[in-house]
């Protein structure tokens, strides 16, 4: 593990804004949205206050996982341009503060979820936090190029947790929603890692482009897109969702596949020539928002 000189003493307490930044609020928006969609897509209606609390707990749990991730990765964050200004590598906060904040927030979110909704949702929330921190951050990220393939599961839990909060169990549809995000993660992150490859290489993170090169990564993006498309269309094909979702899924996945093919055909080695990768990365975010939004619209309109 690379070590960097961290401030030995930090006499000033951290600013609340830095504590907020520790929770990665921008990442949280997608987590909250997919969790909310999972909850709305579930059969029956959850009390609005309890539903709000469940989404809040998902957000707090994601924030806790983000804080613990930053606590563990302060050394490599300092080596990457994209992350060097985070509170820990910039020396605006002690590692102990980040650790206490992350652990406290994680426990609080799980306990509140259990008390407000049910223990199934609290269990899956705890699993998602532990998975992100121990399996992805501590175990996989620095060891294997498959880090985000397996680690992607951590970000796939929110719709499942939202569903469990509303119903108290987990059935085939939330498992499919989990699979969609799980299979979406590799194309999404590998597209990003292609054009920020030098950052990851400098930090010694074995992302696929760093370990296996751009050509293999581009092929893998296309290969992972295929099961993702199948998983995204499955809820409609298996009659778990209506035509609004089905039509949206067909269009969205056709565009995704087209962009993934464009990436596979690109052979640029410099970020300046990686327009298809940048386009796929941006589109993949819109894709997930619109796909889950379509599922909710489907439920609300056709219910």
């Amino acid at each position: 593990m690379t070590t960097i000189p961290m401030p030995q003493t930090q006499p000033l307490p951290a600013e609340w804004r830095d504590l907020l930044a520790l929770t990665k609020p921008r990442v949280m928006s997608l987590v909250v949205f997919t969790g909310l969609c999972g909850m709305i897509a579930a059969p029956g209606a959850i009390n609005p206050v309890l539903g709000f609390t469940a989404v809040l707990c998902i957000a707090l749990g994601a924030g806790a996982a983000g804080a613990l991730n930053q606590w563990y990765e302060a050394d490599i964050d300092a080596l990457m341009k994209r992350t060097a200004n985070r509170p820990l590598p910039a020396g605006r906060m002690t590692r102990q503060t980040a650790l206490h904040f992350g652990v406290g927030l994680a426990i609080f979110s799980v306990v509140l979820m259990g008390l407000a909704t049910n223990y199934v949702a609290a269990f899956w929330l705890a699993v998602s936090i532990l998975f992100y921190v121990f399996v992805y951050t501590v175990w996989l990220k620095r060891r294997t190029a498959q880090n985000i393939v397996i680690g992607g599961a951590a970000g796939a839990f929110p719709p499942l947790i939202g569903w469990a909060a509303a119903t108290g169990d987990v059935t085939a549809l939330p498992a499919l929603l989990f699979a969609i995000i799980f299979l979406w993660t590799p194309p999404h992150f590998w597209a990003l890692s292609l054009f920020v490859r030098t950052d990851y290489a400098a930090a010694g993170v074995p992302m696929l482009p760093v370990v296996s090169g751009n050509k293999v990564t581009r092929l893998q993006i296309l290969l992972y897109t295929l099961p993702m498309v199948a998983a995204a269309i499955a809820p409609w094909a298996l009659d778990m969702a209506g035509y609004i979702y089905g039509a949206s899924a067909l269009v969205l996945n056709a565009i995704f596949l087209w962009l993934a093919i464009a990436v596979a055909r690109n052979d640029a080695s410099e970020p300046a020539g990686m327009r298809p990768e940048k386009r796929l990365f941006k589109y993949s975010i819109v894709y997930l928002f619109v796909l889950f939004g379509a599922l909710v619209a489907d439920r609300l309109v056709l219910a």
Binding site: P11, L12, P13, A14, E15, W16, N47, P48, V49, L50, T53, L56, L115, A116
Partner: protein, 43 residues
């Protein structure tokens, strides 16, 4: 600690105290809401 650091320390403490008070207030409101919702469901 220099006078400038002392001023900065007080400013940060004050700002954190305000945020903590706000969050505690919201937590109380949330717990009240959860209790009411649970009572309604159990009726």
């Amino acid at each position: 600690m220099t006078p400038e650091q002392e001023i900065e320390l007080r400013r940060r403490q004050k700002s954190r105290s305000r945020v903590t008070a706000l969050l505690l207030g919201l937590f109380v409101v949330l717990m009240f809401g959860i209790s009411m919702a649970k009572m309604l469901i159990n009726q």
